[in-house]
Structure formats: C-alpha cells, structure tokens
Amino acid sequence: MISGGALTDKIDNPSFILTTLDSMITWAQKNSVWPFGSGLACCAIEMVATACARYDLSRFGMEVFRASPRQADLFIVAGTVTNKMAPVVRRLWEQMPDPKWVVAMGNCAISGGPFPTYAVLQGVEKILPVDVYVAGCPPTPQGLLHGLMTLQAKIQKEHPTKEIFKVHARPTK
C-alpha cells in the first residue's frame, strides 16, 4: 500500500475500517490464545487430540501449547486436581501473565467428578476463577472446541481499555 514512498506521501483512496479499540484488542486476543498444557489426568489425552491434525485447534489460533505458564494466557485444567496438587495448580496460575483465562475441562475439574474422596479437590473453582466449564468424562475434542469457542465469545465481550481510561479519567487537582 505504501511501498516505494515515504509514510508522509499522499495515498489515493486508502482503505480503512472504523471500530472501537476494545473490539480490536479483544479480536486480537481471542484469536491468539496460548494455552498452557497442563494434563493432570485422562482428559489430557482428549486435549492432545484436540490439538492434533484431525480436530486442529490451530484453526482458532490456539495451537501454541506452552510448557511454561509464563508464556501462556489460557489454563486448561485437564483432569483430576488432588488436594496435594492443588497448591501447585494455584501457583502455576499465579505465574501466568494477565490477561488470563481458565477452562475447567472434565467433571473432575468441575466438581471432583467420580471421586468424592478425601484426596481430591471438589472442583477447581475453589482455587481458580473459572471462565468456562466443559462437561464430560472426558469431554470429546468437539466438546473442548465448543468450550474454547465459548471462551472466545466471552473474550470478545471484554473491555480491556476500561482500566486504562479509568486511570486517565481520574480527576487531577
């Protein structure tokens, strides 16, 4: 579009689009969610299958599974969270940079599932703020995809600039 000329050159009939800054940021965010690959139990197998060629999570811009929480913004809690693992899961979530989201995948992560026992945390919502719950034991890849698309819809509705403008709108003396 501006090849060959300086940025200050006049451009004939430039294309442009009008939108809010919020929509643009959330549009970028929702299409480049980097999940943190945290397989705690059998749900991890379905999560891996979702990322593989047949279901192809990269269609939604989420194929970059990170091994480190510091590079991720989506925590998919895939599997049973035991009481012994709970502090570890909480700490991993705390290590993720903002903005971050959490998907509770499978009945174990939602409510303890088939393990109402002394050893299992009865729902990951007790330690993390969960955005989307994906039911199933384990959920199918289609189920997880639906959950992630729901998360995308949720991200689209967010207002990331709200905090910034709140700061700037603060009355000055």
């Binding site: 009481n83 012994k84 109402p116 026992t117 002394y118 050893a119």
Partner: protein, 161 residues
C-alpha cells in the same frame, strides 16, 4: 502342609531352617499355592535378616497393610502387616505376616531391605503404624498437613473435613 511343601525343595529348606532357628516365633503357617508364615512381631527383624542372609531371599516385593476392624475375632489384633519376600533366581516367594495393635510400633526392616523405605512410609501414611528406626518416617502420599489415616476402615471416604 509338608507334602505340598515337598514339591518346592527351596521353600521346604527355608521353612524348616526358619522353624529350627525361631521355634517360639513362628506362630502359624499355611500353604495355599504360596507359603505364608505368621510370626511374632518382636522377632520380625531377626527373621527377615535370617531369611535374607542365610536363605537367600534377596528381594522385598511389597509390604501390605490390613485393617481387621470389620472381622475382629476374640483376641484378634487390629492390623496385620504382610511382607512379601522373593528369592531370585530360584523364583520362590515367602510371605511373613505380623499382627499389630493400634498404637504399637514395629521394627523397621530398612536396615535389611532398602526397598522397605517407601513401603513402610506408605503403611504409616495409610494406617498410622509407626516404624522404629526408620530413616525418614513421614507421610508419602498425603499432604503433610493431612490428618487421619485414609485406609483405616473407620476413616470416612469423604475425609474428615
């Protein structure tokens, strides 16, 4: 029992040596496909050491805990601990059983078998039986803050909280 045992000369030899050396400690023995010997709790360490050094039972397969709460007969102690020993390369097994009451402590056999370290910690974690002279007597599965002993029959499945 003796005629069944005669098919396994290695086991027969080990058993008769055990009976001779620890006449008062061997309380009961039976053979159901495998040899199982109930011994006195106090002499366990000596017997295990004897079986390893003299009779070549060079491997400890597992240590198993049992809670007898639901079928306590008269005079029956609360717990049983089962030691599964293995002789390699003769491929023979011998099972030692001791009875333990609540609050009693058992001699650790880590000085004989290193493999007993984690197995005894598991028994301690699940049944609350203490092992004397164990190098690292603390919980292995449950969090350190956990209270109660989950595999006891009177422990509620949902936990105490």
């Amino acid at each position: 029992m003796q005629d069944q045992l005669s098919k396994f000369p290695v086991l027969q030899d080990a058993y008769s040596a055990l009976e001779n050396a620890f006449k008062d400690s061997v309380l009961e023995s039976k053979f159901e496909k495998e040899l199982s010997v109930k011994v006195k709790m106090e002499d366990l360490l000596l017997i295990v050491r004897f079986l390893k050094s003299e009779k070549g039972f060079n491997a400890l397969n597992d240590i198993i805990g049992l809670d007898n709460l639901s079928n306590m007969a008269e005079g029956q102690k609360r717990f049983s601990i089962i030691y599964q020993l293995y002789k390699y390369p003769d491929y023979q097994r011998i099972r030692l059983v001791i009875d333990v009451n609540e609050g009693e402590s058992v001699d650790s056999i880590t000085s004989v078998y290193n493999a007993a370290n984690w197995a005894e910690r598991e028994i301690f974690d699940m049944f609350g039986i203490n092992f004397i002279d164990h190098p690292n007597m603390r919980r292995i599965y449950m969090p350190d803050t956990f209270t109660g002993f989950p595999l006891r029959k009177d422990f509620p499945l949902e936990g105490n909280n």
